[in-house]
Symmetry: C2
Subunit: 442 residues, 2 copies
């Protein structure tokens, strides 16, 4: 190798850094025009208004320029709250703050608020990070006449930089003045980072005495590029439901939805999902078949938003369901599905439209789950590729190759051992992912 | 999205496949000239001859054309054997066969042999796969006058295709005739698949009554692209040592060497490491300080070969040591090191020469190990980047950026919790990795 002149390299780098800092290069949008994911829905959906939920968003200049980067959500008195969060041991100050506040039983007659910024995740910022959370939530509480224990916050963006919280507190009066029940789309946009489209989903069911609505928004595009692409999700309903019941539902359905997606196997320090029920629907508290319908509708909204996060996976060109059936245990089914969905070799094969089922066999083998070669069946969609410990004699490579050309794929694995099933959703691994994460510095 | 004419696509694909098959496209070298890894050693080392070990390699046309693809190793009577293997539950027929044979106590006065082919891994080939192993090892045994239980085999290449074992058995007489104690380099070359260079390492120590030699060869370039880039390692010594003692040494040192490297977190169905001791050194059986020196030398050879596999990581441009210290337990140290070394976000940042320490924090957080934000210290080489729960006030981004320009990097993480240390070696994740694995079908 030619000998490198480190000093010259370092000087050149220093100059570049200076120029970059002077230009205060906006992290979103990047200089290169960012194409919308080919897997994105055609449009942002028309979400129903949820009685008791108001939104506002504005430009605070936390890091980005010329775009809204802070959003506020006001929730009516009596709103019940539930949440699930990243399990990272290095999770951010606002995640810890949300968790602490949810653990406190709230008085029945007061409202709540959620304030979210993009551009800076306030993660790994030590004591000043905790102070920043306190500053933002206290100022929001004061402006809305709420106790600070009822103001939840999220931050998404670079790690390890102090959050310029004064830029957020400065715009709080404007946010409060702008609150409207018709601005959920603006809120969805304000929290975008590497996302190429805002994400929303909704459902309406017939309650006893009137309709019950659910509407949710999400951001996230890597799972999860920690300095840019944390997953944040806020779901609202007008159902009359207690905080405890709400938390039970959320915890029950998060496994088969948000915990069943993966883009790159990485976990954010800031993942947050908050679910708020205002109780302002004319419908009676859901129970019996209505509660079942509500639960199914909530599951659908959660899964829909989770799928949109995968569809916005960095560089993704394929949306893939890995459907594992017949596993010995639930845990095994999850292990196998995740091992396949996270395998760089499987994901690059999908990017290359290559029906490379050998890599699926290898991923099953390394998953740690009980597996028996001779009981395995592997399918691409309806095409049986391998069974009885070998390639299906009727399988033709041409059929597999033709199947892989589609943008939405189902990889089916039947373990032939038991009754446990699990689906995990993922996307392919493309050169564009590398570009986004290697060539583009936040 | 424009509507795709699947039929036309499928027909085009079929035609391509036909052409490819007709051309019997050689998998190695690919049509595109394959550049040698920039991290490769300058030359293949000059390995000492090990008394009692002979090699031969020839062209059998298992899959590749115009190159040697089968190699045979004959080991003198009295050779002790030990081995470690992939833990994949879908491991190949020859791995299962080696494991079964090693479990049998061998008579003291007979020799052994190893026969290896590239181009076809004979994995997930059902009953015919087991028959192929039997055919190859039986024919080798007959030609060498050995019991079949003393013939070990390995196969590396595509998964799920029947191994054309007759092509191998046909060349056995030629291999036997060609056996020579001076052909270890040819053996190293014959087992290459996506490897860009053959791998060898050696050590010599002073025994009581004469020198003791160790020499080893390896192949592997993804860790592990299951259809092309399995890791195979064969190490030889003339030390007088029992099979049990040899197995104990191998098992002890595999954790900090071959089990501490990762290219892409994928595990092969065929990984095999065999260690053979001929006992033909004039030196007495190693004990006391000689045994210690022997053990250290064996460790060095194993680590050296393991590092070479990482240096040949598909598309690699950086060789990275992740050095974790101060973890609460050995298991935690390993978890943290592997979480960092396998994180696509960390690996793409390294490819982009980006000192993105936030991604390291996130990887620590998701590792599952005990971690305390305020006790963590993160270093790039000697540069302290973060400590006490935040960026080191003396850290300058320019220094980190200059450090990342080097081809060999050390990422240091001190957990500040205990006394457990662990190093893991890996490489960066580049667009070239995607190209190799997506655009290039075995």
């Amino acid at each position: 190798m030619a000998k490198t002149d480190w000093k010259a390299e370092a000087k050149a780098m220093k100059k570049q850094l200076k120029l970059l800092r002077e230009a205060a290069i906006p992290a979103v949008p990047p200089k290169k025009a960012k194409p919308v994911s080919p897997l994105a829905p055609a449009t942002f959906p028309d979400l129903p208004r949820i009685a008791g939920v108001e939104f506002a968003a504005c430009e605070a200049g936390v890091r980005y320029k010329n775009r809204r980067d802070v959003m506020l959500i006001r929730l009516a008195p009596g709103t019940a709250m539930a949440g699930v969060f990243t399990r990272s041991t290095t999770r951010s100050a606002c995640v810890r703050d949300c968790q602490a506040k949810l653990a406190v039983k709230a008085p029945a007659d007061i409202g709540a608020a959620i304030i979210v910024n993009s551009g800076n995740s306030n993660a790994f910022t030590g004591q000043v990070g905790e102070e920043a959370v306190a500053a933002v939530t206290t100022a929001t509480a004061a402006a809305l006449g709420l106790p600070a224990t009822r103001v939840f916050s999220s931050s998404t963006g670079v790690i390890g930089e102090p959050l310029p919280h004064d830029r957020i507190t400065t715009v709080i009066p404007q946010l409060v003045a702008d609150l409207s029940d018709d601005a959920i789309d603006m809120a969805a946009q304000a929290m975008m980072t590497t996302d190429t489209f805002p994400k929303g989903a909704s459902a309406t069911i017939a309650g006893e005495g009137g309709p019950i609505h659910i509407a949710g928004i999400a951001k996230g595009s890597g799972m999860i590029a920690p300095d840019m692409a944390t997953m944040l999700v806020y779901i609202f309903t007008d159902a009359k439901i207690t905080a405890n019941a709400l938390q039970r539902l959320l915890s029950k359905h998060v496994d088969a939805t948000f915990n069943s997606i993966t883009v790159d196997s990485d976990t954010s320090t800031s993942d947050t999902l908050l679910l708020a029920a205002t109780g302002l629907s004319p419908a009676a508290p859901p129970k019996g078949p209505v509660l079942k319908a509500f639960e199914a509708a909530l599951h659908d909204v959660m899964r829909n938003l989770a799928h949109q996060v995968v569809r916005d996976g960095e560089g993704a060109t394929k949306f893939v369901e890995v459907r594992v059936t017949g596993a010995a245990t639930d845990d095994d089914a999850h292990k196998v599905a995740l091992a396949i969905a996270n395998s760089p070799l499987v994901k690059t094969a999908i990017a290359g439209q290559d029906p490379n089922w050998g890599r699926i066999v290898a991923a099953i083998g390394k998953s740690g789950a009980q597996a028996d070669r001779d009981s395995l069946t592997i399918r691409f969609g309806d095409i049986t590729v391998a069974k009885n410990g070998w390639r299906d004699p009727d399988y033709r490579e041409e059929d597999g190759a033709a199947y892989m050309l589609q943008p939405e794929l189902v990889i089916g694995v039947d373990m032939g051992l038991g009754k446990s099933n699990r689906s995990v959703w993922t996307c392919d691994l493309t050169a564009r992912y590398i570009e986004i994460n290697a060539d583009y510095r936040s």
